[in-house]
Assembly symmetry: C2
Homo-oligomer: 374 residues x 2
């Protein structure tokens, strides 16, 4: 069957499963925040349960939530985004499905970075879209550059990116947006990890093109992964079709999650979230730099992309070895593509520094005693 | 663009929007239960919020929920369904996406009844699947019969059906399942409204074929629409691919909803839900029978499919007229297909009998004074 023949599994699922059998496992594999959401979220949930908000909302989400998301763009980026251009979706996953269905016809070519978030290509396969992999390296800080925008109908970028933690500087983002507009290429910017950026304050792609499609969500910066809520900002011309897709494919996003999200925009609390991840990044980046080659210091998200080739030519086997020998779980690079990924593993810094420090200690001891390359 | 060119809008959305502007509107248009879920659901939600269950669950759902769903099949149908064959999905909508992606390749032909639930065909369009419409009438009680299973790769049935409220008797369901198996056609049985059946106790398609794909959910019988939780039961051979789809396309179903659903299987309460809808059906069926032709008494779900052709040859215009003149909202038949649908409207009996009685009074007065046909 063509649709599913190229679908790729998540190799990390095996790691996750095995790690869960070790009570002393150290978790660098999990891309899920461990911090609670802003306290108002919990209160809003309790109240929504008490008020029995168990019915459907509009298929594009509560009007007041769309207004809050619009206000977030104004406050954070100085951008005016009409709430009518926003649709609330079941997770940012729902937003990808929507975006690709809207702008990629059957056989259309969708550009995306390799390494990159694996679900982009799997959405494409399921929808009959042809992924066009753009290999990226530390030379461009893992960014796609405008000269690579060739022979594609749409371009998916991630800003910040998973698994590499890079961000797109504003001038590069602007030149990509312009290039896409010139070439009639739809730009889809995954900004799910926006907010989790540590030294700079990157702009949204919305600032640089009226045709940009931007995807955000509540799972990372807002610390609400299990509430499964995301959003998409669309050019006006696509909104009506998007509504039809939402009505048919989603019915509506989860209701309680939407009432919760009304209280998610607690900026003092979110500043604390960012500061916590920054400290974790600083700690882990420095600690791992002694053990692995890290070609680019990550500027955002909560991942470090580490070259382990001084120890192994097969990072999947290496990840398995670390798990079995010292109960340290990491994600093998091959989960993120084929371009150089056999040399890399991904570390997530989504746990407390004490937890990570124990992992670093085990790694240091084990790798010191281990023969250099197997 | 081919993918979206045939997507159909929900005409009822206009009705819904306009009806919401009339404070005295009578709502026969809404396919959403107005009864609260079993009381344990609310308690479980409050507890899950208190315990901050805000993280991801496994992509196929909590193991204990899959076990409860399996137990439900045992208790309700006497069937042994291994929990491994069940995936919990974001709404039953997620289950349709999953089912079609799993068994329909690009260009595959998916049979479905006309009239029928409109999203089936719209899922098909989005996924590059060719809907094959099978016209059904009151002659077969709106059921697809085995002789109609021709030149298709998969067959979607709804049992009970929206908008017609018919059910598939066990012997018919069995012969359909056998015919599908003989012809190598995948049978996808939408059993979302199972439980809301009033005189009989129909069997699940799982009883008649090991290859049947069955979709259920918590939105109707269990009265939890806004919690967006459904499930799919798959033949073993499809489970691994389904897991990959779930990991990529959904990440996971909403977490709080899953903890809530653990308490949804409160059968004494659910018996009361069914009895309430049965009373409403009995009331509305009798009241409307004086005013419209209802070719088949609905046996399940919460809809009545009424022929309004003695008043109008354009049921969409007629629905609009009822809304504007007497503030009675119904769903025009054209939302459900093209086969004879211009003569029909759908009444949902999802509101209290007092509310419906006021609507019936207005209909009776208005239609008596109105000239017969426009």
């Amino acid at each position: 069957m063509e649709r599913l023949s190229r679908l790729t599994p998540f190799y990390v699922m095996q790691i996750l499963k095995e790690a869960s059998s070790y009570p002393d496992a150290i978790h660098f594999e999990v891309g899920e925040p461990d911090l609670p959401p802003p306290p108002g979220v919990k209160r809003a949930l309790a109240e929504a349960v008490e008020r029995e908000r168990f019915g459907y909302t509009p298929s594009d989400g509560l009007a007041q939530l769309k207004e809050k998301i619009a206000a977030h763009y104004h406050r954070t980026y100085g951008l005016e985004v009409e709430p009518e251009r926003i649709l609330v979706t079941p997770g940012s996953s729902g937003a990808f499905l929507m975006a690709y269905a809207l702008v990629c016809d059957f056989g259309a070519r969708l550009g995306m970075s390799d390494p990159g978030y694996p679900s982009y290509k799997n959405f494409a396969y399921i929808l009959g879209i042809e992924p066009h992999f753009i290999d990226v390296t530390a030379k461009s800080d893992y960014c796609i550059t405008p000269d690579r925008i060739q022979n594609i109908d749409a371009l998916q970028i991630s800003n910040p990116a998973n698994p590499t933690g890079n961000i797109y500087p504003d001038d590069l983002l602007e030149s990509i947006a312009k290039r896409c507009d010139e070439k009639g290429v739809w730009l889809i910017s995954d900004e799910l990890y926006h907010g989790l950026v540590y030294e700079t304050h990157p702009q949204s792609a919305l600032a640089f093109s009226e045709r940009a499609i931007v995807i955000g969500g509540f799972s990372k910066y807002f610390c609400m992964p299990g509430l499964r809520l995301g959003w998409i900002v669309l050019p006006k011309e696509l909104v009506q079709k998007a509504q039809m897709i939402a009505q048919n494919i989603f019915i509506a996003p989860p209701t309680l999650s939407q009432y919760a999200a009304l209280e998610a925009f607690d900026y003092p609390y979110l500043d604390g979230v960012r500061a916590t991840y920054q400290k974790r990044r600083d700690y882990l980046y420095e600690a791992l730099s002694d053990l692995f080659d890290i070609p680019a210091k990550p500027a955002g998200a909560f991942y470090i992309w580490a070259d382990v080739s001084r120890y192994s030519d097969d990072s999947a086997a290496f990840a398995k070895e670390l798990l079995q020998k010292i109960h340290v779980a990491v994600t093998p690079g091959i989960d993120f593509g084929r371009y150089g990924t056999r040399r890399f593993v991904r570390f997530a810094y989504t746990r407390h520094i004490d937890h990570m420090a124990e992992g670093v200690r085990r790694l240091r001891d084990y790798l010191a005693s281990r023969s250099a390359k197997t």
